[in-house]
């Protein structure tokens, strides 16, 4: 496993409902990332299809593995890079049960997937109408280190990130489709999740306007000390790369030893209290 890697944050504006166009854009960004020497390229939540596709989601969703992941696999193999992107997944066992998924693909093929656990269904969001929540955290042991996957609204729930960290994640990736009015929340929570878990956090948000919703971009890579190492522009497509060194985790983990000090008995209490809210 490598200690130092280069990560590319590909903040794209997906065309709603047009997978061909979006795969083309993913490919272009991977080629660009490769030129910059990136090992891993991260795209936003539902970047394969766009976020506001409503009932069209039933036509757009695919199995994982499926046609889209196979196309992305070919891109990853050819470029010898790892790719994380978001897509609607249809369960192989049913005909209309969908998940909001993050997919990790490497030169060796499909590494794994994560199904979004917290589906916002309030304000402008209607995810529970379409998606079934996931039940598992996802941490993958890759040549680029242990990578945990999360999606957008999960960031409001520290337990998702904590679980990923407890399962070994050194880099927690949060792909997102966050509209403009929520920017202030995410800018704080991305720092908080990185600090409290002493892990690197890569946040990649969508941009563009879909159905009157302006996605604000502002993708960022945060160090285990909460420092924003790199950030993309707001509201517009952008692309940045950043080197990270997992060795930076150790000094922070000793300085703020949240994992050493974790009290497991409180988690049981948390469970009981949550059930009786």
């Amino acid at each position: 496993m490598r200690k130092e890697i280069k990560i590319a944050l590909a903040q794209i504006n997906s065309k709603p409902g047009d997978k061909t166009e979006n795969i083309k854009k993913i490919k272009e960004n991977v080629v660009k990332a490769k030129k910059h020497g990136a090992d891993l390229v991260i795209f936003p939540e539902l970047s394969l299809t766009g976020y506001v596709v409503r009932d069209q989601i039933y036509e757009l969703a695919e199995t994982i593995p499926g046609p889209a992941t196979r196309t992305i696999e070919a891109i990853a193999k050819k470029s010898n890079t790892y790719i994380i992107f978001g897509m609607p997944e249809i369960s192989e066992k049913t005909q209309a049960t969908l998940h909001n998924a993050a997919v990790l693909i490497g030169p060796e093929g499909l590494v794994g997937k994560y199904r979004k656990m917290y589906l916002p269904t309030h304000s402008v969001f209607e995810e529970k109408r379409y998606f079934r929540p996931g039940y598992q955290t996802a941490v993958f042991d890759t040549k680029l280190g242990k990578i945990g996957l999360t999606i957008c609204y999960d960031i409001f729930f520290p337990e998702v990130f904590r679980l990923a960290r407890l399962n070994g994640a050194q880099l927690i990736v949060c792909i997102s489709a966050s509209p403009a009015i929520r920017r202030a929340f995410f800018e704080i929570l991305t720092l908080a999740r990185a600090i409290e878990n002493t892990a690197f956090l890569a946040y990649v948000n969508l941009v563009g306007i879909e159905d009157g919703l302006q996605f604000w971009g502002g993708s960022r890579l945060v160090g285990p000390n909460g420092k924003v190492l790199v950030q993309t522009r707001y509201d517009e497509e952008d692309f940045v790369t950043c080197d990270i060194n997992y060795g930076d985790i150790k000094p922070m983990e000793t300085f703020v030893p949240t994992l050493k000090d974790l009290r497991s008995e409180l988690l049981e209490k948390l469970k009981n209290s949550a059930e009786n809210l």
Partner: protein, 297 residues
Amino acid sequence: MFALKYLPILINNEDVSSLKLTPSILDLDWQDTSTKIKRFISNYVKQSGAKGVVLGLSGGIDSCTVAALSALAIGGEKVLGLMLPEEETYNKTDIKHAKLVAQKFSLKTNNIDITSTLKAFYASIPNFDPSDNLCKGNVKARTRMIYLYYYANKFNMIVCGSSDKSETMMGYFTKWGDVAADISPIMDLYKTQVRKLALHIGIPKVVIAKPSSPALWPGQLAEKELGIEYELLDLILYGLEHFMDTEDIGKQLGIEEKLVKSIKSKWLSAEHKRRMLLTMKLEYRTIGTDFRLPRNP
């Protein structure tokens, strides 16, 4: 935007219910707001493949602001402001203001007197009652809509509406009339917010300062008709928007709860004017209820 306002409250460990209804709560970053609106307009025009936007340019603050933002977004040569005066409400000052803004933001205008069209309408309606200001006024607003859509159709443009949040929440508009448009860029801004945005983008102060009027009949003034000044109305509506109860709003603003309740009632009872076509569910997927499709222009 609300996030930015709530954060200091949360940081101070206060409850969200301690929302303070003071005029500053309506403050936004006007540079950021105008950038967002401009992007929204240019994005929609581009996606729809339209050649530009057409809008009714009355010379009032809302239409002048939207006209200016449209011109700043896509270039004045792609914005057509239609001035549609008629003899009963003809107002030289409004025409002057419309021209002033058109000149400043380099947009195209067309001045069409609709009096003869209106007279033809009135004459052709068997039960027409000339003394019924409301019914007659609505004919004017809907007639203007016909002109706007004719130009949009003919020249492949989109109709840009200029309704604001205060009048839309209050139902203070003509159904299928002045509110009819393809996009409505300032509908999420209260009137007092539009005034600040207008000032920020350089709308002449004379336009911002004059009393608003839908100009449906002579002497009609918005605040007089609504029975409340926009400064107070907007704070009441803001409180209602943020799920505050009427008692709290009344106490904070030092007004009777009865007034807040009457505003709330007007807001809720006008929902039929803000929604499309109520139908009855009879089949598998129904337009307007569970037929949920993206709005691809």
